[in-house]
């Protein structure tokens, strides 16, 4: 996974450290549900499955994964809520 330092303004941060599938996606879905289109969620995960799951979540929900990093098993994803939901 590539590291991007050019991180957009974050509207909300959700830390799912220690939680396994389906909880990171479930909890992120709850937060994204109440954000406005264009707002950005910073999502922190430690489940190794999240490396695949969170990009897939963004694709399936119609959101955009604008940046991500993976440092020592802690992943950070910046997800911009899509407009067509």
């Amino acid at each position: 996974m590539t590291t991007q330092t050019d991180v957009p303004n974050t509207h909300e941060t959700l830390d799912t450290s220690g939680l396994l599938c389906p909880l990171p996606v479930y909890k992120a879905g709850m937060v994204l549900g109440r954000l406005e289109p264009g707002q950005v969620l910073e999502l922190i995960c430690t489940d190794p499955g999240s490396l695949q799951d969170i990009p897939a979540m963004a694709r399936q929900r119609g959101d955009t994964l604008v940046a991500s990093e993976d440092l020592n098993g802690t992943q950070r994803f910046w997800i911009e809520k899509g407009t067509k939901q």
Partner: protein, 170 residues
């Protein structure tokens, strides 16, 4: 950066139909109750429409008096949580022990328990179909089931599943 898969479809101005997941939950053991609920809550979190058809022993997952008491089979389950010779799985208390170990694993991993998963699924709008034939065969009354189930036969479920993008039998 990846464009959402739905991007192309929405350019025509037509509102895209949400994806749909149709699951059959046919097992009444604790370990086998989790996979359909994990898949259902995940799909619903992605914005999909989800329905689960609870049939045969799977109907116990919706049974008010039984869903909190589902157990892990210790007999004929070589992958089970307690490592004992298979035949000893028949010893009284082995099923209870296997169930206890599985529950402690789930708790240690911060996984929701079954009642919590059911609440999460219902909160996300997952449809619960209770198999009418199973109810008749096993003497289960509507009042035995948790709130919010649709009693349905195979036809009604297939009608829902016919428009599903993903169908799975658990």
């Amino acid at each position: 950066m990846t464009l959402p898969a739905s991007e192309a479809a929405t350019d025509s101005g037509v509102e895209p139909k949400p994806k749909r997941l149709a699951l059959v939950a046919s097992k009444g053991t604790l370990d086998q109750a989790y996979p359909p609920l994990i898949l259902a809550t995940t799909a619903a979190s992605l914005g999909w429409e989800v329905g689960i058809y609870f049939t045969f022993y799977g109907l116990d997952i919706l049974h008010q008096d039984r869903f909190e008491k589902l157990r892990v089979a210790s007999l004929a389950n070589p992958a089970g949580p307690i490592k004992i010779p298979n035949l000893l799985g028949a010893v009284p208390g082995a099923t209870a022990a296997a169930t206890k170990v599985m529950k402690s694993w789930m708790k240690k991993a911060s996984m929701p328990d079954l009642p919590e998963f059911i609440e999460m699924a219902q909160g996300l709008g997952v449809r619960f179909f209770a198999c009418a034939t199973t109810m008749g065969v096993m003497g289960v009354d509507e009042s035995d089931l948790i709130e919010g189930c649709d009693i349905a036969g195979a036809t009604a479920f297939l009608d829902f599943a016919a428009d599903a993008d993903v169908q799975l039998f658990v």
